[in-house]
């Protein structure tokens, strides 16, 4: 089966500063591929380029067999992106926000309703969706944003630090939701510096540092290769 996303020699510079020095990876259908690395490693830049927010300085990205750079609008139809520091419109009620976002993807009212129903189920916020987003806690906001990202069952969900700033229970819930949607066919490209989260969520992992891909593989493969007990040790070993 063809890859959903294939990234080859991806480069990105901001003036004289190099953010990505040529990285390769691919996301296969129905898998969770995670980029792990310290702050400033280039994870968010990679995700932003794949999400069509930034343009690359070099390299190739193919999404469903099409050149991402040439057809960004095709890509936007099929992906959803959850930034690390995302927010929702504070003056909108939760339900209105979901309808507003669903409207961009739905081809008819029935489809819009199906998207919103799915999002309502993901958030489990019930009547709170009738109140303004500005009154939500951080956990509630993150859940509605995740629901927005998954409600359309995108081909590829790009999630930047999906559990960032959440407490243990909320983070666990978010991870379970992501796993559930992967089973339904959505591929996921995510980033995190929480190695334990990655081990629980990911099918395959890419270790990234200073804009370079250090290693990639399944968590099990990497642990065996680096004779490590967990991904944190794998990362330390690959840095040497």
């Amino acid at each position: 089966m063809d890859n959903v996303l294939t990234v080859r020699g991806l480069k990105k510079s901001y003036g004289t500063q190099t953010a990505l020095a040529g990285i390769d990876f691919e996301v296969r259908p129905g898998e969770v591929f995670a980029l792990i690395g310290p702050n400033g490693a280039g994870k968010t830049t990679t995700l932003r380029i794949v999400a069509t927010l930034l343009t690359s300085s070099g390299g190739d990205i193919t999404f469903l067999g099409r050149d991402l750079r040439k057809e960004p609008e095709f890509v936007r139809e099929k992906i959803s992106y959850l930034p690390e520091e995302a927010g929702a419109y504070k003056n909108m009620k939760g339900m209105d926000y979901l309808h507003f976002m669903a409207n961009f993807y739905a081809r008819n009212p029935e489809e819009e309703k199906a998207f919103v129903d799915r999002a309502v189920a993901i958030t489990e916020l019930g009547d709170r969706l009738k109140t303004k987003v500005g009154t939500y806690s951080k956990g509630m906001t993150r859940k509605i944003l995740l629901a927005r990202a998954l409600m359309t069952k995108p081909v590829l969900a790009i999630l930047d630090e999906p559990t960032s700033g959440l407490d243990v229970l909320n983070a666990l819930e978010v991870r379970e939701i992501v796993r559930r949607y992967v089973k339904e066919g959505t591929s996921v490209l995510l980033s995190s510096h929480n190695m334990l989260e990655i081990e629980f969520l990911s099918d395959r992992v890419g270790l990234i540092d200073k804009g370079r891909m250090l290693d990639s593989g399944t968590p099990q493969e990497l642990k065996e290769k680096h004779l490590a007990k967990n991904l944190e040790e794998v990362f330390r070993s690959s840095l040497r």
Partner: protein, 431 residues
């Protein structure tokens, strides 16, 4: 189109907040209130006013002066029998705005054609211009009396001559020529009427530009501050549609806000201006303007409307770019300043200088500001400078196109996320 409508509706809802509605309603009420108060004050000032008089002469001439004041709608409170000091104290304690003291020997002086003095004491209980109107009217009455007395004297001594011809042997008949039309009137009057007619244009333009630009700058800055911009940029909608939706929403809401503001402003000005308007009509200003062809026809209004519309588009496109440069809502408030200056510069220059007579560098500077052109449109229509009008319209259209292309380019590239106007420090864009 469905996606565009979806976004446009959201943009309008974001802009029409309860705060905006309350602020507009408050402005409207405030202007209306001030207008009503001013109207009452004006009516009071032009209505019957009470003045005190102390006639220490009691001659036929002094009686004629007081009769003249009565016919000028003054209510006279006679203080006869009092000393000057007592009359001043009485008038001060009462409602009188003015005390008129006619000294003894007033009539005799006039008979002997010696200059005679009367004294006026104005009681200033406030410093408004309307409050000081009483003294102006008294001066008018005295002047009329002076005129009548000197005429009588001249008629007595030189019955075969017209007193007016004696007093003003040189007379002028003024004509104004505009292009190929000529009419009797003064150039000062024409200039005054034109500036009165054109007064509303800069006010309208400033209001709309400021309201709309503020809204579009805030709309972009708020997306950044609330961290919603990145999500919006990854949904399946064209970047040009995002720009258009934001500009259209801000334009519509700005236009409505400005219209409400103008309505309030009109009711405020209406309180003060009705009398002046009546006076203008009486002096034949309208006829003079018609004779000189200085009136707007449908085409004139269309050109003026088009010019204002293009200026608003330019402001919106510029505001969109400034909004991208702003980091958050607070810095967006500062971004409006350059735009306001660009509107105010041509306004102030047009108040004090004539664009056609200023030096070339200043002329180029003024014409380079797109917002100058709506200010110049009305006088160019009157003077038939259609080349200048067309040039202005084309210039604004070109500037708008350039700005939109630039804004679209910013929105289509990394710049929408990386471009910031920061003072002093730099932050790495890479995560």
């Amino acid at each position: 189109m469905k996606r565009f409508t979806n976004l446009l509706k959201k943009e309008i809802k974001e802009l029409v907040t309860i705060q905006l509605v309350i602020s507009l309603a408050f402005t409207l009420l405030l202007f209306n209130f001030i207008g009503q108060v001013s109207k009452k004050e004006v009516q009071k000032a032009i209505g019957v006013q009470t003045i005190s008089t102390l006639d220490l002469d009691g001659s036929a001439a002094s009686q004629a002066l007081l009769k003249g004041l009565e016919s000028a709608r003054f209510k006279i409170l006679d203080q006869s029998g009092k000393t000057k000091e007592q009359a001043i104290e009485t008038a001060k304690a009462g409602d009188s705005k003015l005390l008129l003291v006619i000294p003894a020997g007033f009539g005799d002086s006039l008979q002997e054609l010696r200059p005679s003095e009367i004294e006026t004491y104005s009681f200033m209980r406030s410093f408004s211009l309307i409050g000081a109107r009483g003294q102006v009217v008294v001066r008018g009455v005295i002047s009329a009396l002076n005129e009548a007395l000197s005429n009588n004297f001249l008629k007595e001594r030189l019955p075969e001559l017209d007193p007016q011809s004696l007093k003003n042997p040189i007379k002028s008949k003024d004509y104004v020529v505009v292009k190929d039309r000529m009419a009797e009137g003064s150039a000062g009057m024409v200039a005054g009427l034109i500036s009165q007619q054109s007064l509303l244009i800069p006010v309208v333009l400033m209001m709309i530009v400021i309201y709309s630009s503020q809204m579009v700058i805030s709309a972009v800055a708020m997306e950044k501050q609330n961290k919603t911009l990145e999500t919006l940029l990854t949904v399946p909608i064209r970047r040009t549609s995002i720009i258009t939706a934001k500009m259209l929403a801000a334009g519509l809401v700005g236009l409505i806000s400005a219209a409400i503001y103008m309505f309030g402003f009109k009711s405020f000005v209406g309180g003060l201006g009705e009398e002046a308007a009546q006076a203008g009509a009486q002096t034949g200003g309208a006829t003079l303007m018609r004779q000189l062809g200085l009136t707007f026809d449908t085409t004139g209004y269309f050109i003026l409307g088009l010019s204002l519309f293009l200026a608003i588009l330019v402001a919106l496109a510029l505001a969109m770019i400034l909004g991208v440069l702003a980091e958050d809502f607070r810095s967006a408030q500062n971004m409006i300043m350059p735009l306001m200056f660009m509107v105010m510069i041509p306004y102030f220059i047009s108040l004090f200088a004539d664009i056609n007579t200023v030096s070339l560098p200043i002329k180029i500077f003024i014409l380079a500001i797109p917002f100058s052109h709506p200010f110049l449109v009305s006088q160019n229509i009157y003077l038939g400078n259609y080349g200048m009008i067309a040039g202005g319209l084309v210039y604004m259209l070109v500037i708008f196109a350039v700005l939109v292309v630039f804004a679209a380019r910013i929105f289509s590239t990394d710049k929408i996320l990386t471009m910031k106007l920061r003072f002093g420090r730099k932050r790495a864009a890479a995560a």
